[in-house]
């Protein structure tokens, strides 16, 4: 084959491959749009005032809502932040300064290990640790499980972002007589804060949708929980329960609950990634 036709062949291959890549890219987005379409189309039908304010009604009866699941998710995620963010950020601070030491390397390795553990395994860990000992399914246990999931992400994000802050800032502050610890907190961490906040938002978005660990820890509740030591309903568990049930009414509530959950998660993701322009100074 002469050079000319060989070249045509090569160009054709190039075009085909590029076309395939475009096709792949479009194919990857099809499920996303399908899911968003279904969630919106079917979910909107279930949204009503009573959906947000009522408790679930007895099986087979119409109406009722998921008010307790919505607050339940907020409670659990709130607890997860309470348990997970302080240790995570502080561990990240530690890693940014002492990450090169042997302890630092072990910590980083542990964080990486934890981030790969399936959430269902974390669920049975917290069950054996807390639920069995306290003989109680509780919001605490659920929050703890979610915190364990958040911890490695928050740690690594904090570490990476602190490392990005120029050393010059630290040196300037130290030069002005600010104590070491103050420097780290008020200067370095403050500068890294927007990025850390981003990481936290993404971590929150992730744990808000977790279902499996909650099945063994916070369980579920058809009423308002009377305290943090009682089983608590949550959106993901409610969606799961309603989705596999045979009742039409429950199905439409599942879609509506999915809409709420997806809206929450997407808002956090959009806020975290897209609005980078408005960095807090």
């Amino acid at each position: 084959m002469n050079i000319r036709s060989h070249f045509t062949y090569r160009k054709a291959v190039d075009r085909i491959v590029r076309g395939l890549c475009l096709l792949a890219a479009l194919l990857a987005l099809v499920p996303l749009f399908s899911v968003l379409y279904y969630v919106t189309a079917r979910g909107l039908g279930g949204i009503s005032f009573e959906f947000f304010t009522e408790l679930p009604t007895p099986v087979g009866e119409e109406h009722g809502g998921v008010a307790n699941a919505i607050t339940g998710t907020l409670t659990l995620v709130g607890l997860a932040c309470l348990f997970g963010i302080p240790p995570g950020v502080l561990a990240g601070v530690y890693l940014s300064q002492f990450g090169h030491t042997r302890l630092g390397k072990i910590v980083r390795f542990s964080a990486d290990v934890m981030s790969g553990v399936p959430s269902v395994t974390i669920g049975i860990f917290v069950y054996s640790l807390l639920v069995v000992r306290t003989k109680q399914f509780s919001a605490y246990a659920g929050g703890l499980a979610l915190a364990v999931i958040m911890l490695p992400t928050v740690t690594r994000t904090t570490e990476e972002l602190l490392k990005l802050v120029p050393e010059a800032l630290r040196e300037a502050a130290l030069g002005l007589g600010v104590p070491q610890w103050r420097t780290t907190l008020s200067v370095m961490l403050r500068t890294a804060a927007p990025g850390v906040a981003t990481g936290i938002m993404l971590a929150v978005a992730r744990v808000a949708g977790e279902t499996a660990p909650l099945l063994f820890t916070s369980f579920s509740n058809r009423f308002w929980p009377g305290g943090l030591d009682e089983p608590t309903a949550s959106l993901p568990v409610q969606i799961y329960t309603y989705a596999v049930s045979p009742y039409e009414d429950w199905h439409s509530q599942a879609w509506a609950a999915a809409l709420v959950l997806v809206a929450l998660v997407l808002t956090l993701n959009v806020a975290a990634r897209v609005l980078v322009r408005h960095r807090v100074r």
Partner: protein
């Protein structure tokens, strides 16, 4: 323009709200009582109605019941992570050993395990013999137009669709009752599968809870499965008439369940099987369903609230049963229960002194 900062603030506000909402409300001397229960999916429609009605009568008492299967109910009550359990099949000796104290089985209603199916084009009632049913669930009968099914159902246009069996993937009292029945009418089933809450099914899709099985049956053509009467009725599934001990095909109706219950005598343990009950009108796969309660309660207020709820359920609650396709308890069963629940106590003091 929405700033990220404001999203962050909004998020934090929501989370604080959530934390506040979750915290203990009111003072420790408030009359609010929370009772947690878990177990059988079999009676869940009735229990959720009972608990909702009881909460209307006594707003300070919240009873939260999670339907996770009889196996779950037994395990959770034995480990005391709930205040009461629920099961369709009695605890075995080894189950009972795991509990720190004696547990009482209290029958509170009667239901039926129905065989439901979704055959495109067939809306009539299928008639099934016990051995045919067993062979379907063993996988030896594979298509809907199999000769053995057609023989008993000459009037139905059965397609040549493969039979898709649906079973339970979780530990289920309904499974125990159903396999108990199949094992009693088919020696082959007894030897290949046996009976129990969780058996190794030779064929079938696994679904979670009676809810899951019913959901599968509703949406997938060609399926057959076993579920509780209330679920089948509420979802308008087509159900089969099963040949009973006397040779008559009994449709799964509340009256046929009551007929079966009338035939059985309860002893002091309050546990009895209704499978293959005698009587021409009896439905052969009926079952009591029990609440599991510690005879000696560790919490006076909770124990008393629970005992009172049970007394209510066994009397006033029975009126709500029929509408939800459960059979009310026969009068002499209620009498026996009243006697027995007087033994529920805290520190030697019984909760219920003179009956209800």
């Amino acid at each position: 323009m929405v700033e990220r900062r404001s999203v962050l603030k909004g998020l934090s506000a929501l989370l604080l709200l959530g934390l506040a909402a979750g915290c203990k409300r009111g003072d420790p001397n408030s009359p609010n009582i929370y009772l947690g229960g878990a177990g059988a999916t079999f009676p869940f429609p009735l229990y959720s109605k009972w608990m909702s009605e009881y909460n209307k009568l006594h707003p300070e008492i919240r009873i939260n019941y999670q339907s996770i299967g009889s196996g779950g109910g037994i395990r959770q009550i034995a480990s005391e992570t709930v205040d009461f359990g629920a099961t369709d099949t009695p605890m075995s000796a080894s189950d009972a050993k795991k509990a720190p104290r004696a547990i009482l089985h209290i029958p509170v209603t009667i239901g039926a395990v129905v065989v439901a199916y979704n055959i495109p084009g067939v809306t009539g009632e299928l008639k099934l013999d016990g051995d045919v049913l067993a062979d379907i669930f063993l996988g030896t009968i594979k298509t809907w137009n199999d000769e053995r099914i057609a023989r008993a159902n000459p009037g139905l246009a059965l397609p040549s669709l493969p039979i898709a069996v649906v079973t339970r993937s979780d530990g289920s009292g309904t499974t125990a009752v159903f396999t108990g029945y199949l094992a009693s009418v088919s020696p082959k089933f007894q030897s290949v599968v046996g009976e129990g809450k969780s058996v190794k099914w030779p064929v079938g899709l696994g679904a979670k809870g009676n809810e899951g099985v019913t959901g599968q049956l509703k949406t997938t053509p060609g399926t057959i499965g076993y579920t509780e009467l209330a679920y089948a009725s509420q979802n308008r599934l087509t159900t089969a008439a099963i040949k009973n001990r006397e040779g008559a095909y009994a449709s799964p109706k509340v009256s046929a369940v009551t007929a079966a219950a009338e035939q059985v005598e309860l002893d002091d343990s309050l546990v009895a099987s209704l499978v293959n009950a005698p009587g021409a009108a009896s439905y052969p796969i009926a079952s009591f369903t029990y609440l599991l309660v510690y005879e000696e309660s560790k919490n006076a207020r909770k124990g008393e609230a629970l005992a009172k709820f049970i007394a209510w359920a066994v009397h006033d609650g029975q009126g709500l049963a029929a509408a939800l396709h459960y059979a009310p308890l026969p009068a002499r069963v209620v009498q026996k229960i009243d006697e027995r629940i007087k033994s529920l106590h805290f520190g030697g003091k019984p909760f219920l002194s003179q009956g209800t």
